[in-house]
């Protein structure tokens, strides 16, 4: 009895309280982030070992909330390209590259830097798209020897955007209106648009060269960059393969999903998707064993 009492005394005292707060606010978050870090590292190492490759992960969660509660939109920027280029530089010329992409796109400059570095890598390069790689992400994917997509994953058009406007739509204005009635600002944009589209087409063509005949590469580049669709148009694995003619595989290793699962937003305040984790099997089949891959 007295020992219980002493225990409670220890908890309900100033010192006990401070210690409790310390554990709650400092120790636990540190341990948690350290744990997730180790899990990620292990997952990457497992994949590297399995493929005998260098694994680079480029994940942009749509929206993380900063200290003030204002959402931050993440995209491919120069910091990313710098990090990726460093990783590639640290990789032996004969070691294959496995690139895991999950991104809405970003700066053309940064994306093209990454794409060119991948293209230049002598060993085999593979881009895995477990969920989506739009715009700049698609540009990077075009550079790889092989693109592996989940059957439900999507790529996007690579037509350049100037400010808020798609370059292709700006050019439409010049066609539709007599030049005397167009704003100067629009004409300035139109000039940039023309250059931007031509540059992207040339870049895409160059990235695709060597993997297919030149005419085909040029046709694909035109199609993706000319603004045939809106910029958020989802190009599914099937469409990319059948309609556009890109070489796409759909054998996504299960490890990639496990890995992206580890980059989920840490303690999101109020999630909007709920389900009970764990696989579901048809009745009568063995349950609870290995996760079935499609």
């Amino acid at each position: 009895m007295s020992s219980v009492k002493r225990f409670f005394k220890a908890i309900f005292s100033w010192r006990g309280f401070v210690a409790l707060l310390f554990v709650l606010f400092f120790v636990i978050p540190v341990i948690q982030s350290w744990r997730i870090e180790t899990l990620r590292e292990n997952a990457i190492r497992r994949l590297e070992k399995k493929h005998g490759s260098r694994v680079i992960v480029l994940i942009h969660r749509q929206e993380s909330v900063n200290v003030l509660g204002i959402p931050v939109v993440r995209y491919i920027n120069i910091d990313d390209s710098e990090d990726v280029l460093r990783a590639i530089r640290l990789t032996d010329k004969n070691t294959p590259l496995d690139f895991i992409l999950h991104t809405p796109g970003g700066l053309v400059l940064a994306a093209s830097q990454i794409a060119k570095a991948i293209k230049r890598h002598p060993a085999k390069t593979t881009v895995f798209v477990p969920h989506y790689a739009m715009s700049g992400g698609t540009l990077i994917a075009l550079a790889a020897n092989e693109i592996v997509m989940d059957p439900n994953a999507v790529l996007g058009p690579i037509d350049p955007q100037l400010g808020d406007f798609p370059a292709a739509s700006v050019l439409k204005v010049v066609d539709a209106k007599p030049i005397g009635r167009i704003d100067d600002a629009t004409l300035v944009l139109a000039d940039q648009s023309k250059k931007a589209i031509a540059q992207i087409v040339a870049l895409a063509q160059q990235l695709l060269s060597g993997k297919m005949p030149a005419e085909k590469a040029s046709a694909i580049a035109q199609r993706l960059a000319s603004g045939e669709w809106t910029h958020d148009f989802p190009i599914t694995a099937e469409a990319a393969r059948d309609l556009i003619g890109l070489p796409i595989g759909t054998q996504m290793p299960e490890e990639v999903f496990q890995l992206t699962g580890l980059y989920r937003q840490a303690n999101e305040a109020s999630p909007s998707v709920f389900y009970l984790p764990g696989p579901r099997y048809k009745k009568g089949e063995s349950s609870g064993k290995e996760v079935a891959v499609h």
Binding site: H131, N152, V154, T230, G278, V291
Partner: protein, 281 residues
């Protein structure tokens, strides 16, 4: 135990109370989900967007279907055997076309039967997802909405109306830029809807239905009730299981200081006649 101890005891308990409440809520959600899964032999996925939560500074945060959601839903589908039926419970104002379409296409590809439950509303992107399901189960007063795309803050269909009425040389440059996007967006959504309705029992009306829903026949917030949905030929039914409604009750509006709707949460049934004879004199 003296007063000080009592104070600390009280303090710790009250500090832990929200955590305990949250855990208990989570537990009852899990129990309800697994009950439905067990009863129907299916995988249950919920997509619930409570309109408005306050962030740290008190600004309202609007929730909609974003790519994080589609990723999470696709992860759940990925973990489900192809033959296992999926029950998708939707409560959403809509969201990004990309995200909604990705979910819709994944559902369409799923071999087992997919049922979309709409206990209250599934507008725009939510409707797009429902169209991909084999069956849409709505509660009696639930609504779906048109899926016409929005460009910036304007409905694409309305932008195109301007293009139809004014000669291009008199239009603003920005309107022309938006009109170009609007044109593409409408065609894309229409074709996607048509594709989603393929092989569904809409008796050859897929083309017409896709036009109706995506070309701005109505405003974007027009409520498509159960009756209208039935008239349109959508595979709707209205017998929503009580468990689904109970489950939705476990996802209340978060962090609202003052609830705006109040009632006693017990069922009311009409009593067999004369209970209060004196009431109406």
């Amino acid at each position: 135990m003296n007063i000080g101890d009592l104070f600390w005891f009280f303090f710790v308990i009250s500090a832990m109370q929200p955590v305990i409440t949250k855990r208990m809520l989570e537990y009852s959600r899990q129990r309800m989900i697994s009950k439905i899964e067990h009863d129907r032999g299916s995988r249950v996925i919920l997509l619930v967007h409570r309109q408005e939560t306050m962030n740290f500074l008190g600004f309202p945060v609007y929730r909609y279907i974003d790519v994080d959601d589609s990723e999470e839903v696709l992860r759940a589908i990925h973990m489900t055997d192809r033959e296992v039926p999926i029950d998708l419970i939707l409560h959403t104002p809509g969201g990004l076309v990309l995200a909604a379409l990705q979910i819709a296409k994944a559902i369409q590809k799923h071999k087992g039967k997919v049922t979309a439950f709409v206990p209250h509303y599934a507008m725009s992107g939510g409707t797009l997802i429902s169209l991909a399901a084999d069956e849409i189960v709505m509660s009696e007063h639930a609504v779906l909405g048109p899926v016409d795309p929005q460009v910036g803050k304007f409905p694409a269909a309305s932008i195109l109306k301007v293009l139809g009425k004014k000669p291009p040389k008199d239009m603003e440059d920005e309107t022309l830029i938006m009109a170009d996007q609007a044109e593409k967006a409408i065609v894309q959504v229409r074709e996607s809807v048509k594709d989603l309705l393929q092989g569904k029992p809409t008796n050859g009306k897929a083309d017409e239905l896709a036009r109706l829903l995506s070309e701005g026949t109505w405003t974007h917030d027009f409520p498509i009730t159960f009756e209208i949905a039935q008239m349109l030929g959508l595979p709707v039914s209205s017998n929503i299981p009580g468990d689904v409604l109970k489950l939705m009750g476990l996802y209340p509006q978060p962090t609202r200081t003052q609830p705006t709707v109040e009632y006693l949460p017990v069922p009311r049934t009409r009593k067999p006649e004369p209970t209060m004879p004196s009431a109406n004199g």
